[in-house]
């Protein structure tokens, strides 16, 4: 009798301690950082036993899910404005950076052969530049033989943070875009065909002759799509690469916006890739599920500390250390349990 009681107690203890060690974190949102979150989560699980269940349902979906409190954290490529953050009691911080690249499908044009600039891309998506042999494109590509072929602009049909960053850039370089179309996760596209998700755009461009699309760099690389070079704000032609993404990120003033909501489009600098973008995490400052949020913070801290190499392997750009220090200070001062105890201290 005594023995069974002890055995039972041990079993219960063992179970509860196992549960305390391995809390599964749930998150939902942006598709843009999904590959790196999945890779980090895999490595983190191997090291700590705690798993991450991340649903890449899109930024809008992520914002909805965290507001409905069905997940521990939401992820978005379109930062929430400071007012909305305050109203909903959410903390926001950037997790990783990446880049959007234009991809094309043109016979005889190799990856990186074509050069485009912001105003021309805007004109293509406004329907003003209709053919690949248009003087605006020819002027940027004096050495490439451009076919007389209709341009098929491909864009996202679902709301998307990628679209937000892309539209933000086009609005920044083309006043017509700003006044006629505007910036949002979904806009009223003047021309072109819509496809769902980064992979949808990638597939449509790959299957449609004369198509141009915009996708997250990893998708372009994985699908071996023909990316283009871009002329940046400094007037220099740049290749999409970790170096040019990092150059764009280096100049950002992260504290200029509430919740670090800085859009990295069209940054200054000779090397800067003009369509660089960050992606953000949303967490409750006073979470209902304290252990899960604490575990999520541990996972993010681990990713900041040990995930840089993995991020670079997938062509993402890790956050600079100085910004990470800032973010972790914000965590310990703002994210607290019901008793006011911080869920994260930078030392552990």
């Amino acid at each position: 009798m005594n023995f069974t009681r002890i055995a039972l107690a041990t079993a219960v203890l063992a179970l509860s301690s196992a549960a305390a060690n391995a809390i599964d974190i749930s998150g939902a949102g942006a598709t843009f950082p999904y590959p790196i979150y999945a890779k980090w989560a895999d490595a983190y699980k191997k090291e700590t036993g705690s798993g991450l269940n991340y649903q890449s349902i899109g930024s809008g979906g992520g914002i909805k899910q965290i507001k409905a409190k069905t997940v521990t954290f939401g992820a978005t490529d379109a930062p929430l404005p400071g007012k909305e953050l305050d109203e909903s009691g959410l903390a926001q911080f950037p997790m990783v950076m990446g880049a959007i690249v234009p991809v094309v499908n043109l016979d005889g044009v190799k990856p990186g052969e074509l050069t485009l600039d912001g105003p021309t891309v805007a004109k293509i998506y406004l329907g003003e530049v209709k053919s690949w042999d248009d003087p605006a494109i020819a002027k940027l590509n004096p050495n490439t033989k451009l076919p007389k072929q209709a341009i098929v602009p491909v864009r996202r049909s679902d709301g998307s943070g990628t679209t937000y960053n892309f539209a933000y850039y086009l609005a920044d370089v083309n006043p017509d875009w700003k006044s006629k179309v505007g910036v949002s996760t979904a806009v009223q596209w003047p021309v072109g065909i819509g496809a769902k998700g980064n992979e949808g755009v990638a597939n449509n461009v790959a299957n449609t002759k004369g198509a141009i699309g915009y996708v997250e760099y990893a998708y372009a690389k994985q699908n071996k799509l023909t990316h283009t070079k871009m002329v940046n704000k400094a007037g220099k032609t740049v290749e999409p690469s970790s170096a040019s993404f990092q150059a764009a990120a280096a100049n950002a003033d992260w504290n200029s916006q509430p919740g670090y909501g800085v859009i990295l489009a069209n940054q200054p600098g000779d090397q800067s890739w003009p369509m660089t973008a960050a992606t953000w995490i949303l967490l409750y400052k006073k979470p209902a599920d304290v252990p899960a949020t604490a575990e999520a913070l541990k996972f993010f801290a681990w990713s900041y500390a040990k995930g840089d190499k993995m991020a670079e392997d997938l062509d993402y750009v890790p956050m600079p250390d100085k910004v990470v220090n800032d973010i972790q200070k914000m965590w310990s001062s703002e994210i607290k349990d019901a008793g006011g105890k911080p869920l994260f201290s930078p030392t552990n």
Partner: protein
């Protein structure tokens, strides 16, 4: 008592002389039987009522969900082409237009082809081929719509872009009306492609129902028609079709119902653009494709509500189609009978 059980007279005797105990057990059995019937009756009625409850539940939910959008835009929601999440101005014209046009293209192709297949299978086909073709048609109905979508995007749309659209655009470039119907540029993806994919998807519905009703035509009618010298076409046109029109219209409506609501395959190949274009080659969108594409990512109440309102409109369109079908059947029956 049971000694001469097999005797007929004995049986009659037994049935007339009923003891009190036997009468009681018989009435108990009868009561039980009545009870089972009452329960069965109740269950069937409950099942039927459940459909009504579900249907009204769906309508109520759609109306409540659509109320903010319909309240903001009113009737102009139906006639407004713009779909602008930035300024929050939404209109259903483009999705309604796309839904009707793609379904029309689908039916224009699928109905004649389906009727011809059905007639061939029932009248002209050699016995050896009858089963393989019949099974192939049914297999076509069994293919999931996502497969049609992927096939449409990877195989069919590039084919259309290369081999179908350019010649059509060139041929009709100088023909009025047709040149705006087949205007470029050739995207491959667009309303015509979506309509053609839908045609393949509804073909099995039209074919298998028509085949079943064609089979039900009494052979004597056809034989009599052939006997007085009718050609095969005349038999089809004047005997088989009039005899089976109710069933054929049923198959047509079933196909149309599928075409109107089909989502996955359409969203792959229609281009998902909220535009009303005269050209069939232009990208467009349908009601169900818009909802599938945008619902998860719709930001703001008005946006979500507009999508729900689209769902309500699709509900009405389907309802109207069914009502027209009923009305046509009624008139046909009256005329016939």
């Amino acid at each position: 008592m049971d000694s001469g059980g097999r005797d007929v007279t004995d049986m009659t005797l037994r049935s007339t002389s009923v003891t009190a105990a036997e009468a009681a057990s018989r009435s108990a059995v009868l009561k039980r039987l009545r009870l089972t019937d009452v329960v069965f009756h109740g269950l069937t009625r409950a099942a039927a009522m459940a459909v009504l409850v579900l249907l009204s539940g769906v309508i109520v939910a759609l109306v409540i969900g659509a109320a903010p959008a319909l309240g903001t835009f009113g009737f102009s929601f139906l006639f407004d082409e713009s779909w602008n999440p930035v300024t929050e101005r939404f209109g259903a014209l483009a999705p309604i237009y796309g839904t009707l046009i793609t379904s029309a293209i689908a039916m224009l192709i699928a109905v004649p082809v389906g009727l011809m297949i059905a007639f061939f299978l029932t009248e002209l086909c050699p016995m050896v081929l009858r089963r393989p073709i019949g099974i192939a048609i049914e297999l076509l109905a069994g293919i999931p719509s996502i497969i049609y979508g992927i096939w449409g995007l990877f195989i069919f749309a590039p084919f259309v872009q290369k081999y179908i659209q350019p010649p059509l655009i060139d041929t009709f470039a100088n023909v009025p009306v047709l040149n705006s119907l087949f205007a470029g540029p050739p995207y491959g993806i667009g309303m015509a492609t979506a309509g053609m994919i839908l045609a393949i998807m509804v073909l099995p519905f039209v074919t298998s129902i028509s085949r079943d009703v064609f089979d039900a035509v009494p052979p004597v009618l056809k034989e009599a028609a052939y006997g007085v010298g009718c050609t095969t076409w005349e038999v089809f046109r004047n005997v088989v079709l009039p005899f089976t029109r109710v069933g054929v219209i049923g198959g047509f409506m079933l196909g149309l119902g599928r075409a109107l609501g089909e989502t996955m395959a359409v969203t792959f190949v229609i281009g998902n653009a909220h535009h009303v274009s005269a050209s069939l080659f232009a990208p467009g969108t349908t009601i169900s494709a818009s909802i599938a594409n945008e619902f998860t990512e719709a930001v703001g109440d008005l946006y979500t509500s507009s999508l729900v309102a689209l769902g309500l409109i699709l509900f009405f369109i389907t309802f109207i189609v069914l009502a027209i079908a009923r009305y046509m059947l009624l008139r046909l029956q009256q005329r016939a009978g």
